[in-house]
């Protein structure tokens, strides 16, 4: 499967897509300042309203750009942490090295999907926010957890968008997005483990939270049409659990919840130079 071949096929079928894929960059340069147009978050902020209602960042290409923005942030956050002498204790280095490696690979891969040059879409950061996030090791870990758990929620929120789009491109991107999603979850659990927290988000178990929005809506009783907290509060079901008194927490921990694209950008926003 040649993704770039696919793109040109789509373009033939729908010339408007070519324009969209051209990043709407030229179009935007005409109507906005160069500085704003150079900031990828600004593109993400221009999410198509129809998609936004469902929480989608846009079509498959827009979703890749949305994901790439987050991956740049993660990569550059860990890179800065590694540069900062004395921040990461030697015992934690293998964890950080492994995570940083994956984030860099995700950037390379998503840039490749879009046909971008290295760092073509790299955002400008708010250095005050980044420096504060790297103030000391515990703060670094708190922010690493925030970025990983938010990343998990972000990819999760786009999966149904990609499935529903049902184009050759969206199917290809979906297969990749799912496989990044679970890697981010492995990272999130590892960072939480380093902080000696429970590795599954639930109320009161997330340690120092840089922003209450990160875990908003994580404690969900309803899954589809089923209220699982009610189900496990019934005595005959409760007793199937080893920790029957923690039934609600087990339900909350058993399901990670998605975030809409706009919610993710609201959390990540303070890291970027251009406010959204």
């Amino acid at each position: 499967m040649n993704l770039f071949g696919i793109f040109s096929q789509i373009e033939k079928a729908d010339p408007a897509i070519g324009e969209k894929m051209d990043f709407s960059r030229r179009k935007m340069l005409k109507t906005t300042s160069v500085a704003a147009a150079a900031t990828p978050l600004f593109f993400a902020a221009m999410v198509n309203k129809a998609f936004a209602a469902e929480g989608c960042a846009g079509d498959a290409i827009e979703i890749v750009k949305f994901a790439l923005t987050l991956e740049y942030l993660e990569r550059d956050f860990y890179r800065a942490a590694q540069f900062k002498a004395g921040l990461v204790p030697s015992g934690a280095r293998p964890y950080v090295v492994q995570i940083a490696k994956h984030e860099a690979q995700h950037v390379d891969l998503l840039e490749g999907v879009l046909g971008y040059k290295p760092n073509q879409m790299q955002p400008k950061y708010n250095m005050a926010t980044l420096n504060a996030a790297l103030a000391d090791y515990p703060t670094f870990l708190a922010y690493a957890q925030a970025l990983e758990d938010t990343g998990v929620r972000a990819y999760k929120g786009q999966a149904a968008c990609l499935l529903e789009e049902d184009t050759a491109t969206s199917r290809t991107v979906l297969a990749v997005a799912l496989r990044i999603h679970s890697v981010e979850a492995r990272h999130a659990a590892a960072v939480r483990y380093m902080r000696e927290l429970r590795v599954w988000p639930s109320g009161g178990q997330n340690g120092m939270e840089p922003d209450a929005k990160i875990y908003a809506g994580e404690d969900m009783a309803m899954q589809g049409p089923i209220n699982l907290v009610d189900y496990f509060n019934m005595s005959e079901n409760k007793m199937k659990l080893y920790s029957p008194d923690m039934a609600a927490r087990s339900v909350y921990e058993s399901f990670d919840e998605p975030l809409k694209a706009a919610e993710v950008l609201a959390i990540a926003g303070p890291f970027f130079a251009t406010p959204m």
Partner: protein, 254 residues
């Protein structure tokens, strides 16, 4: 900190405007399509349909075994079967007292058991009774439950397999039922957290939690086909199964 905005990752090969062959190759590799031609892929699918036994050696496969059903129900039942297995495994670990009562590891295995049980009950409630597979029987007697390391490694393999199964099956869900993909996505990341946690118990401070054996050079978690999943998990499933409808669904979406 200045490096942050000015660094440019040295990258291999030209990328723009020519079709970036390196990246294209990377991407094809990511999709597992570098060496397999379309024709070979079709043949492989045919083979997996006609000749199950060599590929799924561990499972008890039988034409009159439990069928997973049609369409999206096949995928939901596939997930339900795996959650049943995981619940049974963790229950066995706790009941057979692999870890000392009250130890950190024992508490973690109790927690994970409870999550798997929540997942199992969720699928039981979510799949209509006339579309749902029954309670499967399992045989985990091949596992030495007195061997801490073997139990941890088995748990790791089961979790890795679960994640890879969800990642492989997710795209098979029909777009009309995208809610199933969202629900599966809510569960798979919890399985990935289990895999990460168990790996941290096995290798504290190391990179096993997202090791190179399970994450490829593009930072993508490896995924598994139905045959590969049954090849790993099938040896614990005592009930005879018939995965033909699931395999047919999988090959129809290739």
């Amino acid at each position: 900190m200045e490096e942050l905005t000015s660094t440019s990752t040295p990258k291999k090969g030209p990328s723009v405007p020519a079709i970036p062959s390196v990246e294209r190759r990377m991407f094809l590799r990511a999709l597992g399509l570098t060496t397999v031609s379309a024709a070979a892929l079709l043949t492989a699918c045919q083979n997996s349909m006609n000749d199950l036994s060599p590929k799924i050696s561990g499972a008890r496969i039988s034409a009159d075994g439990v069928s997973f059903g049609e369409g999206d129900f096949a995928i939901l039942n596939y997930a339900y079967a795996l959650e049943q297995l995981e619940t049974a495994f963790y229950m066995a670990v706790v009941e057979k007292k692999t870890f000392a009562a009250g130890s950190k590891e024992e508490m973690i295995f109790r927690d994970i058991h409870d999550h798997e049980l929540v997942h199992r009950e969720f699928f039981k409630l979510a799949i209509p009774a006339d579309k749902r597979i029954g309670d499967l029987e399992f045989d985990v007697s091949s596992i030495d439950f007195t061997n801490r390391r073997e139990v941890l490694n088995t748990a790791r393999v089961l979790e890795d397999t679960g994640v890879a199964a969800y990642n492989g099956a997710g795209p098979l869900i029909s777009k009309a039922n995208s809610i199933y993909l969202t629900l599966a996505g809510k569960i798979v990341s919890v399985e990935a957290r289990h895999a990460s946690l168990i790996s941290s118990l096995l290798q504290p401070g190391g990179g096993l939690f997202a090791g190179d054996y399970v994450v490829d050079n593009n930072g993508l978690e490896k995924m598994l086909t139905v045959s590969e999943v049954l090849g790993r998990a099938g040896k614990y499933i005592k009930t005879a199964i018939n995965p033909a409808s699931l395999l047919a669904l999988e090959s129809s979406k290739k």
